[in-house]
Symmetry: C2
Subunit: 497 residues, 2 copies
């Protein structure tokens, strides 16, 4: 090992240890911590995050990275870590420390302002804060923009390397052109789908049992993972031997059921990271979009397919004899694929989901690139929902205030949700060519599919970006058409079109 | 605030944040972490503990502490933090870093060696490791011993400031002289106590309900605390708004019941630390002994008194109608105070408990001060158990291998267990003079007793050491006689002597 890299390793280990500790605090905070702990624990996390910042930005790190940058003796993983840290520094270092801290203080409070505004259905109460957050993010992107790069492109690149307004305009353009009319057609001409039996008396204890069964069935390893309850489902990874998922229980059994499979998809990705990469900067999923591709692949492409349920549906019926005993497999699969265009992104069905993201993408572009007045957001939001989804929010809580992201300054994040689904569809058509995808599911061999994903995607962590992964696996650059094809084929069948 | 202290605060905050993170990892590890997480998580904790070491020992810290040492403008709490950090540095800094790391590696493995040896009942397998651990600890104490201080005194002082072989010889001398014959008398002349009803079908769920009720009843605040399950009960404190206890469930209901009250006692101490002290070096219990005094005060002096159960026993009977419905209050209280001299310290009754500690104290002194050959330990251990407690271990697992402490290098720790009980007794006789102690318990007013302890002990954290606390509260220096008096009065009554 090179001497400089060896020294770098010390700083890297420190940064990763602190990051892991912060991940544990986050997990604990959402699942277990007592009600009054928050304020003091936030203080602790604040100090740790300052230490992380310090580890990444310090002069020693800079010098060591310079030494390592062109060191040809480094392994692929070592070189990737150097590259990753250099990129992380490029994101942080150009921002003056005092402005960064001011922004951190602002966003620390902004989430509370947003939550209250949402509760009070009062957009005006959030607007000034949002305006300040946007101001900071534009200023920061400005510090970092090189060679006349556009501000929103700087932000997009943070979440999904290699994606910019140029290719995203094309992506969302295809979605808009194809899916908006297709969704209308499904709603107007499609048959009626019955799903009332999914709602009712599904005891929490039994739902948990079902969730644990399904998580394990798709490949979540309880020797290297934990499942708990939180208000909003999420996945936390400490390292590739400890990845944790949460779920929540409602009176709609499909809610927890598919949230477990979704989070298990995220977790399987992290559990599949190579042993040589875990606890290093590149030892995590390639990108937000690639992560979402895996969670949505497990949730939708696998989990909402008929074949998936063939070997296990009888068992599910045994778990819920009163609720599902008289519902046959086809009725069940149809129900979990029911399309209901609605106002809330996180509750959206698979078909209308990406249109929620499209709306956010269009609005973010206007906010960042066209100086859209934030006061105009509620109206604009409502108009777009009416146009694309045929529904109109009655208040901002079910409209522009529904997502937490903007209060935290996360602009450029939303597109990854739709990209993830589209990556998944492209992977799916490729896999169908080289394996009997449905046959495997019908035989209960999810593991063959999972192992393929691990071998071709998961193990690499951030050694490759999402476009490179798609190219290496499918032989093609990213193509939005697969996603549209997948949705049209699937929902034409479900709705008898 | 002084400028130097203000700067010091940054290093202190860092050290405390890392310590808090390590506490959370420890909690998580014992209660929740998946089976295979250990190895990688240990690596993370290793890095964090190195960072803690670095924060306390670094040159900047040294300079700032020197500046603050004689700064008269510091508040009492600030000055105490400076003193505390100086003491911590005096413990660590004289030890060469490479030896410290070698020792850390040794003890990291030693616990595993000990656990296997205990499982195999094979002392020989542990002896060489134990010898190395002792060697390191003696060497380290030698580096730190000033003015001809004895090595074991250096170790004792780490756990209980102001205590040395001089006053501990006197303390344990009194225990030996008074309690060994008294225990014999109880066993030979006392009446027979029936406690078979405490063992049986006590469902875990109901035990948990009982535990939560009792924890809350004695003052554990579930808005600032969590209760979970672990192999061995313990308390973790993150700060004074987040203190956590664990328990374990067996078929003996009194085991979990009193472990909950015991850990709640520890937790109430930490929850009572002043807001100005929490998350600073002095923001924790004064000493091991003072901590144990509070946990054992709640467990034994409060929890095993008849008065404590008067207002709540009917409710306990309602919880367990089949198991306790026909057991009256007096039978119940007698049963939970049954004396059964045994081989295992952690299962010992209140009366024989300190004799277990006496044996460890006498042996530690011989190991550290008289170069006792470790090969002789099993025999010596067995002889002392036979002499003081009237029982003789049949194998080292129930003898010299029972405790984890020595494998971790904790010599000088055991005496605090007995000191804690004795501190509690001294506090008890004082409190009885100024309040109607039993009357309060009978009226269900544990809160008055708890508030007294909080006001006079808990809030101060480490601003005072245990001897100072005793002097300030009771007006007297530590006196072992109260403890002997308490045990004799109580157990003479229980056993009709």
């Amino acid at each position: 090992m090179s001497k400089a890299y060896d020294e770098l390793r010390t700083y890297m280990d420190k940064a990763m240890a602190i990051k892991t500790a912060m991940a544990l605090f986050e997990w604990d905070n959402e699942t277990l911590a007592p009600r009054e702990a928050g304020e003091l624990t936030s203080k602790v996390i604040g100090v740790l995050s300052g230490e992380y910042f310090q580890a990444v930005t310090c002069e020693e790190m800079k010098k060591l990275l310079e030494k390592c940058r062109d060191d040809k003796s480094l392994t692929t993983a070592e070189a990737a870590n150097v590259r990753e840290l250099l990129e992380e520094r490029e994101q942080i270092c150009p921002i003056p420390r005092n402005e960064y801290q001011e922004f951190a203080r602002l966003t620390a409070g902004a989430t509370g302002v947003w939550a209250r505004a949402k509760k009070d259905r009062d957009f005006e109460a959030f607007a000034p804060t949002l305006e300040r957050v946007i101001g900071f993010q534009k200023k920061f992107a400005g510090y970092r923009a090189k060679d006349g790069k556009k501000l929103y492109d700087v932000m997009l690149d943070d979440y999904e390397k290699g994606f910019s307004m140029e290719n995203l305009d094309r992506f969302f353009g295809v979605l808009k052109k194809e899916l908006v009319p297709f969704l209308k057609k499904v709603m107007e001409e499609g048959k009626k789908v019955e799903d009332s039996f999914l709602k009712g008396d599904y005891p929490e204890k039994k739902q948990e049992e079902l969730g644990r069964f399904l998580a394990e069935y798709v490949g979540f390893d309880f020797d290297r993972g934990v499942m708990a309850v939180s208000a909003h489902p999420f996945t936390t990874n400490l390292h590739n031997k400890d990845v944790r998922i949460t779920t929540h229980y409602t009176d709609c059994v499909d809610s927890s059921l598919f949230s477990v499979i979704h989070e298990a998809g995220h977790a399987i990705y992290e559990l599949g990271i190579g042993d040589d990469l875990t606890l290093t900067p590149v030892g995590q999923g390639a990108s937000m979009g690639m992560h979402e591709s895996q969670s949505r692949f497990f949730e939708n492409i696998i989990g909402r397919s008929r074949s998936f349920w063939v070997p296990i549906y009888a068992r599910i019926q045994e778990m819920f004899p009163e609720q599902l005993g008289k519902v046959d497999l086809d009725q069940f699969v149809e129900a979990v694929n029911k399309v209901t265009p609605g106002l809330i992104r996180t509750e959206a069905d698979e078909l209308s989901y990406s249109l929620h993201v499209l709306i956010r993408y269009e609005i973010e572009k206007m906010l960042i690139e066209e100086d859209l007045d934030v006061e105009k957001l509620p109206q604009l939001w409502a108009d777009k929902y009416e146009e694309y989804l045929g529904v109109r929010p009655e208040n901002p809580a079910e409209g522009v205030l529904q997502d937490i992201h903007w209060s935290q300054g996360s602009f450029g994040y939303f597109p990854s949700y739709a990209l993830g689904s589209a990556f998944g569809a492209q992977l799916y058509y490729h896999m169908k060519e080289i394996m009997d995808f449905d046959g495997l599911l019908r035989e209960g061999k999810v593991d063959v599919i999972r192992d393929y994903l691990r071998e071709h995607i998961h193990q690499y962590g951030k050694l490759k970006d999402s476009r490179q992964i798609l190219k290496d696996v499918t032989g093609e650059d990213f193509k939005p058409e697969y996603y549209v094809r997948y949705l049209k084929e699937k929902y034409s069948a479900v709705y008898g079109l």
